[in-house]
């Protein structure tokens, strides 16, 4: 089945959304500032390990092996989580996952849950589903808190509030955080301290925690959550009930495989040798942490991606977001333009596979790339994103033929086939320069030619074509 995830409400296809975003100069400054800083740091963290390519190839091989043997490993994971005292649930799609989680929260008698940042629950729109049942979900990751307070959408996998700078965040906290200390400045350390104070009571009072997981180890039933702030540890440790929603592709075969992924993930995502905190647990431990643990295994379109030999590699993704940070398109358009919880290059191949290419936004995503290949180069699990993009473009075209563009190409074939027709066409084209804007660019042609200018500017044609100039100056000798 094709999965479902929230397409951001009212979100137009990528080209239209990108056009608005590119015009937002503050957004572009924020993104350039953040991504430039992290690119340099990441390169240093990666350069420190002489065997980076070997780690990367091992990670790719491990993940491919898991995907090829997914049934065996899922059953093994289920068995070992159950043995360790956990409960395993299966969800075909977002609605089913949300219903399971809502039921478990209701069973626990909680009207409020604390959440660790999780892509899976963002994908299923869990918070909105819980709200419908009168349960409030408190996002505890600093960036998620910023997004939640601002009634905003996440725009980055790792740093959902990357589109906001410290001044904007300071302003938001002063306005929206009821217990913000008086005189709170824009200093990131002060902002982090305000978040600490704001959330402390929620952690201490929480009875249900909800998380995703970075890895699920089949042979030990271990779940692994990699984080920085300690909000993850709070949610995973203090509540009586813990519910983890995890995509079926998150499996690693064995405990030993963590040695590869714990080396790759922190360096790729936050450019650290190791992230501040990683929590690993299997089932329940009497006297330590939650007494009731539920693992919800989520399909939501993943088996569709699995069935696609080329597209399948997107399921290797470990959500490090290195590909976002190097992407020239992401840097200019920002995360919101992708209309999905998964933005950037990985989002451009993941969202259309999980949701199908039925909607205009999903059909446009595989085209949201210049195919420069920087994403492939930095990917710690060697996902060939350009290859997958081209493959998905073909699929999108199959589904949604771009009629106007095809008509234009047919028409150009007809024109180019005859010298007389070309000369006539060029005279018309030269006249069209009067519709060009400043800098000699045409931003919008009339339909059906608008199919071209929807996604790019057209250069204004010169006043005289080369052919006309040749005929005028050398024509006689010709």
């Amino acid at each position: 089945m094709t999965g479902s995830m929230p397409t951001y409400v009212g979100m137009p296809a990528f080209p239209a959304a990108a056009k608005t975003a590119v015009a937002d100069s503050q957004l572009r400054r924020n993104l350039t500032h953040a991504t430039t800083a992290i690119r340099t740091k990441r390169a240093k963290a990666v350069g420190e390990l002489g065997d980076w390519e070997d780690l990367r190839q091992a990670a790719k091989a491990i993940k491919d092996h898991v995907l090829a043997n997914l049934e065996t490993y899922l059953l093994r994971l289920e068995e070992n989580v159950t043995k360790a005292g956990g409960h395993v649930h299966w969800a075909r799609d977002a609605a089913e996952a949300n219903a399971i989680v809502t039921g478990l929260v209701e069973q626990a008698g909680a009207g409020k849950v604390v959440k660790v940042k999780s892509m899976a629950t963002q994908e299923t729109g869990l918070n909105e589903a819980l709200a419908k049942s009168g349960i409030s979900a408190i996002e505890t990751d600093l960036a998620e808190l910023i997004v939640q307070l601002g009634d905003d959408w996440p725009s980055h996998i790792l740093v959902p509030a990357i589109h906001k700078n410290r001044a904007e965040i300071g302003e938001l906290f002063r306005r929206k955080m009821p217990d913000a200390p008086p005189g709170l400045s824009d200093d990131p350390a002060q902002l982090a301290a305000a978040a600490r104070a704001h959330l402390r009571n929620e952690f201490l009072a929480a009875t249900v925690g909800i998380s995703g997981a970075n890895f699920a180890v089949a042979d030990t039933g271990s779940l692994v959550v990699v984080e920085s702030e300690g909000n993850g540890r709070m949610c995973l440790t203090l509540p009586r009930t813990l519910i983890s929603v995890v995509g079926v592709e998150k499996i690693l075969p064995s405990w030993r495989d963590l040695e590869v992924f714990l080396a790759l993930l922190p360096r790729s995502s936050t450019a650290e040798r190791m992230n501040p905190y990683t929590t690993i647990w299997s089932g329940v431990t009497p006297g330590d942490g939650p007494e009731d643990f539920h693992l919800v295994l989520l399909d939501n379109g993943r088996t569709d991606a699995l069935a696609d030999r080329t597209g399948r590699q997107a399921l290797r993704c470990i959500r490090c977001s290195a590909c976002l940070n190097v992407c020239p398109v992401y840097e200019r358009a920002g995360g919101h333009a992708y209309g999905s919880p998964y933005p950037g290059p990985i989002g451009a191949i993941l969202s259309p596979q999980l949701r199908g290419v039925g909607s205009p936004v999903d059909a446009s995503l595989p085209f949201a790339s210049s195919l420069c290949g920087a994403c492939y180069e930095v990917c710690p699990v060697a996902i060939n994103i350009p290859e997958a993009l081209v493959h998905l473009r073909a699929k999108a075209v199959e589904n949604h033929r771009h009629y106007p563009e095809r008509t234009v190409f047919k028409l150009s074939g007809y024109v180019l086939a005859s010298a007389a027709r070309l000369a006539a066409a060029q005279r018309v084209a030269s006249l069209s320069r009067h519709v060009a804007g400043r800098k000699g660019r045409i931003r919008r042609l009339p339909p059906p030619l608008s199919a071209w200018t929807d996604t790019r500017d057209a250069p204004a044609p010169p006043p005289e074509s080369f052919r006309a100039w040749w005929t005028r100056t050398r024509g006689n000798g010709g």
């Binding site: 953040a34 043997n69 920085s228 702030e229 709070m234 030993r256 590869v260 650290e272 040798r273």
Partner: protein, 269 residues
């Protein structure tokens, strides 16, 4: 089993073909290429204790090397004493007496302790870092089976035991925690707790704002691979690399969010 489970498994089978036998899958896993290094610094050619100290300090942990076990108690007392400078004179004054009667002094519970040191009885909701609160010596929680000789230098009335277990709110009124660890990783400056004896349940090293951890030199593994191999996967684990931090504002690392904001590591050589 559930219809969802059966349907997902059927869809996977359609996508991947019939599954191999578990033995074939395991053989496939064993044959995967692993050309990477098991350690990025050769433990035979590197002082990995020094490497660990340097790497842990890189992430703003306070790192001290303690050359002899006999000096640990002093180092612990100094680290705890430095917690709140205002209390320093009291702490120092108490220290000599505490050494003598430490065995009897470690049984205090926050709600059971009559004020021994003359300080106001601690209220669980009195956050230790609340500005304007009356100065009180910082209370330190210690897990079961923490070596008694590590804390002989601590003032008597300040030690709290997690027996019976404190609630999260009670823990929030505790200034710090002292633990050992299971393993450490030199390459990444990481300590790993398996929450066994001397380390306490996970909440103990999470809620208080100060974590003092004693790492023995022989617990330091050169790299991630060796460290993981020393652990028992059945146990819960916490990997800690420096104090709590975030990169959520402009992708710049800032120390100090929800976990302990001060991590102090004593390496016992």
């Amino acid at each position: 089993m559930s219809a969802a489970r059966e349907e997902i498994l059927a869809r996977i089978r359609t996508a991947t073909g019939r599954p191999s036998t578990p033995a074939e899958v395991d053989a496939g896993h064993a044959a995967l290429p692993r050309g990477y290094l098991r350690a990025h610094h050769d433990p035979a050619a590197t002082d990995i204790v020094a490497l660990f100290a340097e790497r842990a300090a890189d992430y703003r942990a306070v790192v001290e090397r303690v050359p002899a076990d006999a000096l640990l108690a002093d180092a612990v007392a100094r680290a705890v004493g430095a917690l709140s400078p205002a209390d320093q004179p009291d702490a120092v004054a108490d220290q000599s007496g505490a050494v003598a009667d430490q065995s009897g002094a470690v049984a205090d519970r926050p709600d059971a302790a009559p004020d021994q040191s003359g300080a106001a009885p601690d209220q669980p909701d009195a956050a230790p870092d609340r500005p304007g609160a009356a100065p009180e010596p910082p209370r330190i929680i210690i897990p079961q089976a923490l070596p008694a000789e590590w804390i002989t230098g601590l003032p008597a009335g300040t030690i709290v035991r997690d027996d019976p277990p404190l609630t999260a709110r009670e823990l929030d009124a505790i200034a710090g925690v002292i633990t050992g660890c299971a393993v450490a990783i030199a390459e990444t400056g990481t300590i790993i707790l398996d929450h066994g004896p001397g380390q306490g349940r996970r909440a103990l090293t999470l809620v208080p704002d100060f974590h003092l951890v004693v790492v023995k030199a022989d617990q330091i593994a050169a790299d991630i691979a060796d460290a993981l191999a020393r652990l028992d996967p059945a146990r819960p684990h916490t990997l800690i690399s420096g104090p709590s931090a975030t990169s959520d504002i402009e992708l710049i690392r800032v120390e100090g969010v929800h976990g302990p904001r001060n991590l102090h590591i004593l390496i016992a050589d």
